[in-house]
């Protein structure tokens, strides 16, 4: 179990909420495809970088951010696959069932990738 940081929680809350609102507003003005781009705003990655910026300084911050960037590249690769599957499953099974299956797919793919990269 890690250490809970209130500032890390707040940064994630603000970035996550702002990204969903930006996605909605862009979708309303420019269409769903453009809104989708903001739905993929790297909020989690940026929040992790900002939190590292609060806790660390100098070379420690740089090396921690490099580790985070490497992890984010793998995570976003998984998310691209999940987003492609989501477009298909939502059209085929509807919102509720489709979204549940999307979450299931994400969990299984992530588990396999994390297991492969950890061992």
């Amino acid at each position: 179990m890690g250490e809970l940081s209130i500032s890390a929680l707040l940064i994630r809350f603000v970035l996550g909420g702002a990204a969903v609102v930006a996605s909605t507003m862009v979708a309303r003005r420019l269409g769903e495809k453009a809104g989708g781009i903001f739905a993929a705003f790297p909020a989690v990655f940026l929040a992790a970088l900002l939190t590292a910026g609060l806790d660390l300084r100098g070379e420690d911050l740089v090396s921690q951010s490099i580790v985070l960037s490497k992890g984010a590249m793998v995570g976003m690769g998984i998310n691209i696959l999940v987003a492609i599957i989501a477009g298909f499953l939502l059209n085929k099974y509807g919102l509720k069932k489709g979204l549940m299956q999307v979450l299931g797919c994400w969990f299984v793919v992530s588990m396999v990738v994390v297991a492969i990269t950890s061992y």
């Binding site: 809350f13 702002a18 969903v20 979708a27 769903e32 989690v44 984010a72 995570g75 998310n79 987003a83």
Partner: protein, 137 residues
């Protein structure tokens, strides 16, 4: 309208916060690793659009997010490279964000152009066939 946006803000923020809580509280390291890249914003945006505007529009949001996520990989790669090159944390984040937006929009418009090119040869053949038919007459 403002209430709707506030609800979306609260849900989006709560989803990203919840994935962080799972990482911190989880006794299994593997679960923390999995939730570190949970697409909370995309899931919330898709869910809210689906509830408000229907599944088809929600699926379009999911399709559009593919371009944003390709931009996300480019953003992370840019942050990585700028950090290696300059060791400047703030600059790496700014350049990374800029490249995320530019590359997402570029990939999205490139995909639309490719789709148009795929349609054009078919139209060209149709025009050619029509003109041949006219000549034959």
């Amino acid at each position: 309208m403002n209430k709707d946006l506030l609800l979306r803000f609260l849900l989006g923020g709560a989803a990203v916060m919840a994935s962080y809580l799972i990482i911190v509280v989880s006794p299994w390291e593997i679960l923390g690793g999995i939730f570190a890249a949970f697409p909370a914003v995309m899931i919330t945006a898709v869910l809210m659009t689906g509830i408000k505007s229907g599944t088809k529009k929600a699926a379009k949001i999911a399709n559009g997010s593919v371009y944003g996520m390709i931009g996300g990989i480019i953003c992370a790669a840019t942050v990585y490279m700028v950090l290696k090159w300059s060791h400047n944390w703030g600059l790496s984040m700014l350049v990374g964000l800029f490249f995320w937006l530019i590359s997402s929009v570029l990939v999205s418009s490139l995909k639309e152009r490719i789709a148009l090119i795929k349609i054009k040869p078919f139209n060209g053949k149709m025009v050619l066939a029509e003109s041949r038919l006219r000549d034959h007459k």
